[in-house]
């Protein structure tokens, strides 16, 4: 169930690197509390879009506006956007030497209970809270801990960049549980994924192709449309949509 109020609006966003167009006239809106799945093959610009919304270094729209809660945020830095309630789980979360999982989850709020959030991503708190968020964790463990840390922030908008990818990836049920937890908190989610079975749990979905949104609507319809694509990697040439 989504509310009517628009939380994030991307207005005709273009993004170029060294003269090469990565995103071209992309428009997308996400309502408050909406789970919005973003589908697309490799190289279509999904992660670029995520970095633009989060405000990562070097990622500013060449044209167009990123509007969050009615405010243009194009020029805000990452932490300024985070203060507004935007956060992101990277596709491959970085490791931190010397920082325990407990400390990582309580970076912003020393008084909260990290065990609750570790449990929500299917890990046993007693086995993980004392461990370091470093390279001793497997890729899947690190991803779960990242999701737990994002849940603990109670964001207004969580960008999840392929939480289901990787060798020891999270199961569909794991992802569903996490998404449901965001829903319960009233968070909006921009969920970047390749997996159709994940898409259908969203409220709405969009397919991105060659830097543009080519299809937007009900998750089942967009997933069906995505399955019928002709290309595995977006090169902007094979796909008939462009």
């Amino acid at each position: 169930m989504t509310s009517e109020a628009t939380l994030l609006e991307l207005k005709d966003i273009s993004y170029e690197v060294k003269g090469k167009s990565i995103l071209s006239g992309l428009s997308l809106s996400i309502a408050s509390g909406e789970i919005h799945a973003l589908l697309g093959t490799n190289g279509t610009g999904k992660s670029t879009l995520a970095y633009l919304v989060m405000g990562c270094e070097g990622y500013r729209p060449s044209s167009g506006g990123i509007v969050f809660d009615g405010k243009v945020i194009n020029d805000l830095k990452i932490h300024e956007r985070a203060k507004l309630g935007i956060t992101m789980a990277w596709q491959e979360p970085v490791r931190f030497e010397g920082i325990s999982v407990r400390d990582y989850l309580t970076l912003n709020n020393k008084d909260m209970d990290p065990a609750h959030y570790i449990g929500m991503v299917g890990l046993h708190p007693e086995l993980y809270l004392h461990r370091m968020a470093d390279k001793s964790l497997s890729g899947g463990e690190r991803k779960r801990i990242e999701l737990a840390s994002i849940l603990a922030l109670h964001p207004r908008l969580a960008i999840l960049d392929e939480p289901d990818s990787g060798i020891d990836m999270l199961s569909t049920q794991d992802i569903v549980n996490v998404i449901n937890a965001f829903k319960e908190h009233g968070s909006s989610v921009l969920l970047i994924t390749h997996r159709e079975e994940i898409v259908i749990i969203a409220d709405k979905a969009s397919q991105i192709c060659n830097g543009k949104v080519i299809c937007s609507g009900s998750p089942s319809k967009v997933a069906e449309y995505y399955k019928s694509r002709k290309c595995l990697v977006c090169d902007g040439e094979v796909c008939a949509y462009v």
């Binding site: 270094e57 932490h79 935007i86 970085v94 931190f96 030497e97 010397g98 920082i99 912003n108």
Partner: protein
Amino acid sequence: MARYALMSDLDALMNVFGDAGGDKAILENNEIAHLVAVGHKLLSMNSVAGFEVDAKETRTGISAKVTVKEGIKIKNPVHLCFGVLHKKGTQKIKMDVKLERGSSAHFIAHCIFPNAEKVRHIMYAVVEIGEGAEMRYSETHYHGLYGGIEVVPKAVVKIAKDGRYFTDFTLTTGRVGKLGMDYTVEAGENAVTELTARVFGHANDDINIKEKVVLAGKNSRSIIKTRVAIEDDAQAEVTGITEGNAEGARGHVDCMEIVKDRAVAKAIPIVNVTNSLAKVTHEAAIGSVDKRQMETLMAHGLTPEEAVDVIVKGILK
């Protein structure tokens, strides 16, 4: 057990020790061995069963011979507390440490120089670890805020068959001054050693760390791990040397240096293998704070300054 009379110096040293997070009560506990010296004066000493200390004052410091008797496992950590409280002075510490066969002990050294404007602290340790013995040595320094200190710790360690030696050097609070660290460890058959150093340099601090492990015995193992953060105009040079000279020997050198402002860092990993069945690896990373780590922490709401602080504290932990 012997206690010495200069309580004012002892009190002053222990007050700084307490301020630095130490537990002053350790000196009152008869079950904890300790040795406390300020300048060239021995202030307090305690030994426990199986732990022998022969310490004497010299013209410029302290000379001590420490022996852990065969098969004795010292239950509580042994505390060594050295310092110079005056603005100027020299302290030379000479330590001969012997862990006899099958013994074990954990030494915690507190080196405190809170007012140093022109102080030299020279430590020379010869350590002999017997067959199957284990020694842990944790050394924490506090040099105050003036940077007027030169610290020259030198250790030569020999580990016999099946012995283990772990050392952890920490200088992350206050200024460093000038540090010239030089440790050499020779590991015998099946011996294991880990050398860890963590240093945070500021202003014009000058850090020079040299750690060398010779894997002389079959199946010996080692890790040299160095973590340095420097800012302002500080400079650091870290040399990690591992020689693999025996069958099955395995060594690794791991150096990470974070550089801010105008600071300059250098890492020199040297691996030298003379036995085809030995293997030594190394990794060294020098640079500014990792961008992805920064962005991740900022996406959690930390400011850039807070993010750097968390990352630097993490690698120095």
